[in-house]
Amino acid sequence: MDIARVDQIIDKHNSEASSLIQILLDIQSENHWLPKEALERISERLQVPYTRIQHIATFYKAFSLVPKGRHQVHICMGTACHVRGAQRVLDTLQDLTGIKPGETDLDLKYSLETVNCLGCCALGPVIEIDGKIHGEMSPTRTADTLKKYE
Protein backbone atom coordinates (compact mmCIF):
# COMPACT_ATOMS: atom_id res chain seq x y z
CA MET A 1 0.00 0.00 0.00
CA ASP A 2 1.54 3.32 -1.01
CA ILE A 3 1.46 6.54 0.95
CA ALA A 4 -0.72 8.25 -1.69
CA ARG A 5 -3.50 5.76 -1.00
CA VAL A 6 -3.12 6.31 2.76
CA ASP A 7 -3.43 10.06 2.12
CA GLN A 8 -6.59 9.46 0.08
CA ILE A 9 -8.17 7.55 2.96
CA ILE A 10 -7.17 10.25 5.43
CA ASP A 11 -8.65 12.93 3.13
CA LYS A 12 -11.88 10.94 2.90
CA HIS A 13 -12.21 11.37 6.65
CA ASN A 14 -11.26 15.09 6.49
CA SER A 15 -8.04 14.45 8.47
CA GLU A 16 -9.99 14.45 11.70
CA ALA A 17 -8.34 12.94 14.74
CA SER A 18 -11.72 11.62 15.89
CA SER A 19 -11.86 9.41 12.77
CA LEU A 20 -8.60 7.66 13.70
CA ILE A 21 -10.08 4.21 14.27
CA GLN A 22 -12.18 4.45 11.08
CA ILE A 23 -9.06 5.33 9.08
CA LEU A 24 -7.17 2.40 10.60
CA LEU A 25 -10.10 0.08 9.80
CA ASP A 26 -10.19 1.27 6.17
CA ILE A 27 -6.49 0.62 5.73
CA GLN A 28 -6.78 -2.73 7.50
CA SER A 29 -9.63 -3.92 5.25
CA GLU A 30 -7.86 -2.81 2.08
CA ASN A 31 -4.33 -3.88 2.93
CA HIS A 32 -5.02 -6.65 5.50
CA TRP A 33 -2.42 -5.14 7.83
CA LEU A 34 -1.11 -1.78 9.07
CA PRO A 35 2.42 -1.01 7.88
CA LYS A 36 4.54 1.24 10.09
CA GLU A 37 4.91 3.82 7.31
CA ALA A 38 1.12 4.17 7.13
CA LEU A 39 0.84 4.67 10.89
CA GLU A 40 3.60 7.29 10.83
CA ARG A 41 1.80 9.12 8.02
CA ILE A 42 -1.49 9.09 9.95
CA SER A 43 0.29 10.36 13.06
CA GLU A 44 1.73 13.24 11.06
CA ARG A 45 -1.46 14.21 9.23
CA LEU A 46 -3.88 13.83 12.14
CA GLN A 47 -1.52 15.35 14.72
CA VAL A 48 -2.01 12.32 16.95
CA PRO A 49 1.07 11.03 18.83
CA TYR A 50 2.49 7.83 17.40
CA THR A 51 2.33 6.16 20.83
CA ARG A 52 -1.41 6.70 20.90
CA ILE A 53 -1.89 5.11 17.46
CA GLN A 54 0.33 2.23 18.50
CA HIS A 55 -1.73 1.80 21.68
CA ILE A 56 -4.99 1.64 19.72
CA ALA A 57 -3.64 -0.55 16.91
CA THR A 58 -2.34 -3.12 19.40
CA PHE A 59 -5.46 -2.93 21.59
CA TYR A 60 -8.05 -4.09 19.06
CA LYS A 61 -7.81 -7.56 17.61
CA ALA A 62 -9.24 -6.31 14.32
CA PHE A 63 -5.90 -4.65 13.55
CA SER A 64 -2.73 -6.44 12.56
CA LEU A 65 0.77 -4.94 12.64
CA VAL A 66 2.27 -7.86 10.75
CA PRO A 67 1.46 -8.85 7.13
CA LYS A 68 -1.55 -11.13 6.69
CA GLY A 69 -2.19 -13.63 3.90
CA ARG A 70 -4.51 -13.01 0.93
CA HIS A 71 -7.05 -15.43 2.41
CA GLN A 72 -8.14 -15.22 6.03
CA VAL A 73 -9.04 -18.69 7.25
CA HIS A 74 -11.04 -18.81 10.49
CA ILE A 75 -11.82 -22.14 12.04
CA CYS A 76 -14.48 -22.45 14.69
CA MET A 77 -13.39 -24.30 17.82
CA GLY A 78 -16.64 -23.66 19.72
CA THR A 79 -18.38 -26.40 21.66
CA ALA A 80 -20.75 -27.53 18.89
CA CYS A 81 -18.01 -27.60 16.25
CA HIS A 82 -15.62 -29.22 18.70
CA VAL A 83 -17.87 -32.22 19.38
CA ARG A 84 -18.46 -32.59 15.65
CA GLY A 85 -14.76 -32.90 14.97
CA ALA A 86 -13.28 -29.41 14.59
CA GLN A 87 -9.93 -30.67 15.87
CA ARG A 88 -9.53 -33.01 12.89
CA VAL A 89 -10.43 -30.16 10.52
CA LEU A 90 -7.85 -27.95 12.23
CA ASP A 91 -5.21 -30.68 11.92
CA THR A 92 -6.00 -30.97 8.19
CA LEU A 93 -5.77 -27.19 7.75
CA GLN A 94 -2.42 -27.12 9.54
CA ASP A 95 -1.08 -29.95 7.38
CA LEU A 96 -2.28 -28.34 4.14
CA THR A 97 -1.11 -24.80 4.86
CA GLY A 98 1.89 -25.65 7.00
CA ILE A 99 1.01 -22.97 9.57
CA LYS A 100 -0.40 -22.92 13.09
CA PRO A 101 -3.26 -20.72 14.32
CA GLY A 102 -2.17 -17.06 14.45
CA GLU A 103 0.44 -17.51 11.73
CA THR A 104 0.76 -16.54 8.07
CA ASP A 105 2.58 -18.63 5.47
CA LEU A 106 5.67 -17.37 3.65
CA ASP A 107 3.84 -16.86 0.30
CA LEU A 108 1.32 -14.64 2.12
CA LYS A 109 -1.43 -16.91 0.81
CA TYR A 110 -3.20 -17.92 4.02
CA SER A 111 -3.58 -16.62 7.55
CA LEU A 112 -5.00 -19.12 10.00
CA GLU A 113 -6.95 -18.12 13.08
CA THR A 114 -9.10 -20.06 15.54
CA VAL A 115 -12.36 -18.50 16.71
CA ASN A 116 -14.77 -19.60 19.40
CA CYS A 117 -18.14 -19.38 17.68
CA LEU A 118 -19.32 -18.17 14.29
CA GLY A 119 -22.99 -18.33 15.26
CA CYS A 120 -24.08 -21.16 12.99
CA CYS A 121 -23.57 -24.18 15.22
CA ALA A 122 -26.04 -26.34 13.23
CA LEU A 123 -23.53 -26.28 10.34
CA GLY A 124 -20.57 -27.44 12.43
CA PRO A 125 -17.72 -28.02 12.04
CA VAL A 126 -17.49 -24.62 10.38
CA ILE A 127 -14.66 -22.77 8.69
CA GLU A 128 -14.85 -19.26 7.35
CA ILE A 129 -12.64 -18.16 4.47
CA ASP A 130 -12.61 -14.46 3.51
CA GLY A 131 -15.96 -13.99 5.23
CA LYS A 132 -17.68 -16.91 3.48
CA ILE A 133 -18.95 -19.72 5.72
CA HIS A 134 -18.25 -23.33 4.78
CA GLY A 135 -20.24 -25.76 6.92
CA GLU A 136 -20.20 -29.48 7.65
CA MET A 137 -16.48 -29.77 7.08
CA SER A 138 -14.63 -33.05 7.09
CA PRO A 139 -10.89 -33.43 6.47
CA THR A 140 -11.51 -34.30 2.76
CA ARG A 141 -14.03 -31.50 2.24
CA THR A 142 -11.61 -29.07 3.91
CA ALA A 143 -8.94 -29.98 1.37
CA ASP A 144 -11.39 -29.53 -1.54
CA THR A 145 -12.60 -26.16 -0.20
CA LEU A 146 -9.10 -24.83 0.36
CA LYS A 147 -8.18 -25.68 -3.26
CA LYS A 148 -10.72 -23.12 -4.51
CA TYR A 149 -8.70 -20.27 -2.97
CA GLU A 150 -5.56 -19.38 -4.81
Binding site: P49, Y50, T51, R52, Q54, H55, T58, F59
Partner: protein
Protein backbone atom coordinates in the same frame (compact mmCIF):
# COMPACT_ATOMS: atom_id res chain seq x y z
CA UNK B 1 -14.82 29.03 45.10
CA UNK B 2 -17.15 27.37 47.55
CA UNK B 3 -15.70 25.95 50.71
CA UNK B 4 -16.82 22.41 51.39
CA UNK B 5 -16.73 20.80 54.80
CA UNK B 6 -16.11 17.10 55.04
CA UNK B 7 -14.84 14.64 57.57
CA UNK B 8 -11.71 12.59 57.08
CA UNK B 9 -10.85 10.07 59.78
CA UNK B 10 -13.09 11.92 62.22
CA UNK B 11 -11.46 15.30 61.59
CA UNK B 12 -13.31 18.27 60.09
CA UNK B 13 -11.52 19.20 56.88
CA UNK B 14 -12.12 22.22 54.68
CA UNK B 15 -11.74 21.86 50.94
CA UNK B 16 -12.48 23.77 47.76
CA UNK B 17 -14.99 22.60 45.20
CA UNK B 18 -13.46 20.39 42.52
CA UNK B 19 -10.71 19.05 44.78
CA UNK B 20 -10.28 15.32 45.19
CA UNK B 21 -10.38 13.47 48.51
CA UNK B 22 -6.64 12.90 48.19
CA UNK B 23 -5.87 16.61 47.80
CA UNK B 24 -8.12 17.49 50.72
CA UNK B 25 -6.43 14.87 52.88
CA UNK B 26 -2.93 16.02 51.88
CA UNK B 27 -3.81 19.64 52.74
CA UNK B 28 -4.96 18.49 56.16
CA UNK B 29 -1.82 16.42 56.66
CA UNK B 30 -3.61 13.10 56.50
CA UNK B 31 -1.64 10.38 54.71
CA UNK B 32 -3.18 8.23 51.98
CA UNK B 33 -0.80 5.87 50.17
CA UNK B 34 -0.46 6.33 46.39
CA UNK B 35 1.53 4.75 43.59
CA UNK B 36 0.21 6.20 40.34
CA UNK B 37 -0.34 9.72 41.66
CA UNK B 38 1.93 12.63 40.66
CA UNK B 39 1.20 16.25 41.42
CA UNK B 40 2.15 17.44 37.92
CA UNK B 41 -0.10 14.91 36.20
CA UNK B 42 -3.81 14.44 35.75
CA UNK B 43 -5.34 11.90 38.15
CA UNK B 44 -5.35 8.46 36.56
CA UNK B 45 -6.75 5.98 39.11
CA UNK B 46 -4.69 3.03 37.92
CA UNK B 47 -3.18 1.53 41.07
CA UNK B 48 -6.21 1.79 43.38
CA UNK B 49 -3.91 1.71 46.42
CA UNK B 50 -5.52 5.01 47.50
CA UNK B 51 -8.88 3.29 47.93
CA UNK B 52 -10.83 4.77 50.87
CA UNK B 53 -14.27 4.33 52.35
CA UNK B 54 -16.55 7.27 51.50
CA UNK B 55 -19.89 7.71 53.21
CA UNK B 56 -22.49 10.07 51.80
CA UNK B 57 -26.27 10.10 52.17
CA UNK B 58 -26.08 7.02 54.36
CA UNK B 59 -24.26 4.92 51.77
CA UNK B 60 -20.72 3.70 52.21
CA UNK B 61 -18.69 3.04 49.11
CA UNK B 62 -15.10 2.22 48.29
CA UNK B 63 -13.67 4.89 46.01
CA UNK B 64 -10.27 5.89 44.64
CA UNK B 65 -9.26 8.96 46.67
CA UNK B 66 -7.19 10.39 43.81
CA UNK B 67 -10.24 10.63 41.53
CA UNK B 68 -13.24 11.16 43.81
CA UNK B 69 -14.28 14.82 44.11
CA UNK B 70 -15.07 16.13 47.60
CA UNK B 71 -18.69 16.79 48.44
CA UNK B 72 -20.56 18.33 51.32
CA UNK B 73 -20.86 16.24 54.49
CA UNK B 74 -18.81 13.42 53.03
CA UNK B 75 -17.35 11.11 55.65
CA UNK B 76 -14.07 9.50 54.61
CA UNK B 77 -12.24 6.71 56.39
CA UNK B 78 -8.70 6.22 55.14
CA UNK B 79 -8.03 3.20 57.36
CA UNK B 80 -10.60 0.55 58.20
CA UNK B 81 -10.70 -3.20 58.20
CA UNK B 82 -12.27 -3.23 54.75
CA UNK B 83 -9.83 -0.71 53.27
CA UNK B 84 -6.80 -2.48 54.74
CA UNK B 85 -7.96 -5.81 53.36
CA UNK B 86 -8.38 -4.39 49.88
CA UNK B 87 -5.01 -2.59 49.95
CA UNK B 88 -3.36 -5.82 51.06
CA UNK B 89 -4.93 -7.67 48.15
CA UNK B 90 -3.90 -4.99 45.64
CA UNK B 91 -0.35 -5.10 46.99
CA UNK B 92 -0.18 -8.85 46.70
CA UNK B 93 -1.34 -8.67 43.08
CA UNK B 94 1.23 -5.95 42.31
CA UNK B 95 3.94 -7.99 44.01
CA UNK B 96 3.35 -10.81 41.53
CA UNK B 97 4.63 -8.37 38.89
CA UNK B 98 7.36 -6.62 40.88
CA UNK B 99 8.33 -8.90 43.80
CA UNK B 100 11.38 -7.02 45.09
CA UNK B 101 10.45 -3.46 44.25
CA UNK B 102 11.70 -1.22 47.05
CA UNK B 103 8.93 1.30 46.44
CA UNK B 104 6.38 -1.27 47.57
CA UNK B 105 8.27 -2.59 50.60
CA UNK B 106 7.04 -0.01 53.15
CA UNK B 107 3.46 -0.65 52.15
CA UNK B 108 4.03 -4.39 52.29
CA UNK B 109 5.09 -4.13 55.94
CA UNK B 110 2.30 -1.73 56.79
CA UNK B 111 -0.45 -3.96 55.44
CA UNK B 112 1.16 -7.33 56.05
CA UNK B 113 0.99 -8.39 52.43
CA UNK B 114 2.37 -11.79 51.49
CA UNK B 115 4.56 -11.44 48.40
CA UNK B 116 4.32 -15.14 47.62
CA UNK B 117 0.56 -15.30 47.63
CA UNK B 118 0.22 -15.25 43.85
CA UNK B 119 2.35 -16.96 41.29
CA UNK B 120 5.10 -14.61 40.17
CA UNK B 121 5.03 -13.12 36.74
CA UNK B 122 7.84 -10.66 37.11
CA UNK B 123 7.38 -8.04 34.42
CA UNK B 124 8.70 -5.31 36.77
CA UNK B 125 5.84 -3.09 35.63
CA UNK B 126 2.72 -2.35 37.68
CA UNK B 127 1.06 -0.33 34.87
CA UNK B 128 0.90 2.87 36.94
CA UNK B 129 1.40 4.81 33.70
CA UNK B 130 3.64 7.41 35.37
CA UNK B 131 6.34 7.26 32.67
CA UNK B 132 3.78 7.25 29.86
CA UNK B 133 1.78 10.15 31.28
CA UNK B 134 4.84 12.19 32.31
CA UNK B 135 6.24 11.96 28.79
CA UNK B 136 2.90 12.96 27.26
CA UNK B 137 1.67 15.60 29.71
CA UNK B 138 4.83 17.27 31.03
CA UNK B 139 7.47 16.69 28.37
CA UNK B 140 5.01 16.45 25.46
CA UNK B 141 7.39 14.12 23.60
CA UNK B 142 5.22 10.99 23.46
CA UNK B 143 8.30 8.78 23.37
CA UNK B 144 6.84 6.01 25.52
CA UNK B 145 3.38 4.46 25.43
CA UNK B 146 1.42 1.36 26.27
CA UNK B 147 1.00 -1.48 23.78
CA UNK B 148 -1.26 -4.54 23.80
CA UNK B 149 -3.99 -4.96 26.36
CA UNK B 150 -5.10 -6.85 29.43
CA UNK B 151 -2.55 -9.26 30.84
CA UNK B 152 -0.18 -8.59 27.94
CA UNK B 153 -0.09 -4.80 28.28
CA UNK B 154 3.39 -3.33 28.54
CA UNK B 155 5.27 -0.09 27.95
CA UNK B 156 7.09 0.52 24.70
CA UNK B 157 9.38 3.34 23.53
CA UNK B 158 9.06 4.58 19.96
CA UNK B 159 12.63 4.04 18.69
CA UNK B 160 12.67 7.07 16.36
CA UNK B 161 11.66 9.48 19.13
CA UNK B 162 13.51 7.74 21.95
CA UNK B 163 16.87 7.83 20.17
CA UNK B 164 16.58 11.61 19.80
CA UNK B 165 14.87 12.75 22.99
CA UNK B 166 15.38 10.28 25.82
CA UNK B 167 19.12 10.28 26.41
CA UNK B 168 19.12 13.85 27.73
CA UNK B 169 15.87 13.53 29.65
CA UNK B 170 15.33 10.18 31.39
CA UNK B 171 13.08 12.02 33.83
CA UNK B 172 10.59 9.17 33.73
CA UNK B 173 13.10 6.67 35.17
CA UNK B 174 13.05 7.87 38.81
CA UNK B 175 9.24 8.13 38.76
CA UNK B 176 8.83 4.38 38.47
CA UNK B 177 7.55 2.74 41.67
CA UNK B 178 9.43 -0.43 40.72
CA UNK B 179 12.72 1.46 40.32
CA UNK B 180 12.94 2.13 36.62
CA UNK B 181 14.20 -1.34 35.87
CA UNK B 182 11.58 -1.96 33.27
CA UNK B 183 11.71 1.48 31.66
CA UNK B 184 15.50 1.29 31.36
CA UNK B 185 15.28 -2.15 29.80
CA UNK B 186 12.56 -1.25 27.31
CA UNK B 187 14.38 1.98 26.45
CA UNK B 188 17.60 0.12 25.67
CA UNK B 189 15.61 -2.30 23.56
CA UNK B 190 14.12 0.57 21.55
CA UNK B 191 17.59 2.12 21.07
CA UNK B 192 18.99 -1.11 19.75
CA UNK B 193 16.11 -1.56 17.33
CA UNK B 194 16.66 1.98 16.01
CA UNK B 195 20.36 1.43 15.29
CA UNK B 196 20.14 0.00 11.74
CA UNK B 197 17.78 2.79 10.73
CA UNK B 198 20.12 5.47 12.08
CA UNK B 199 23.03 3.77 10.32
CA UNK B 200 21.16 4.00 7.05
CA UNK B 201 20.56 7.70 7.55
CA UNK B 202 24.25 8.36 8.15
CA UNK B 203 25.15 6.58 4.92
Amino acid sequence: MNEILLKIDGREVEAKEGMTILEAAQNAGIYIPTLCHHEKLEPYGACRICTVEAESRGQTRLVAACLYPVEKNLVVRTRSEKVDKIRKMILELLLAHAPDSRGLQDLVEEYGADKDRFEKEASFCVHCGLCVRYCAEVKKKFAVGFVNRGARREISFVPEIASKECWNCKECFPLCPTEALQAAYVYTEALISSLPRLGRQML
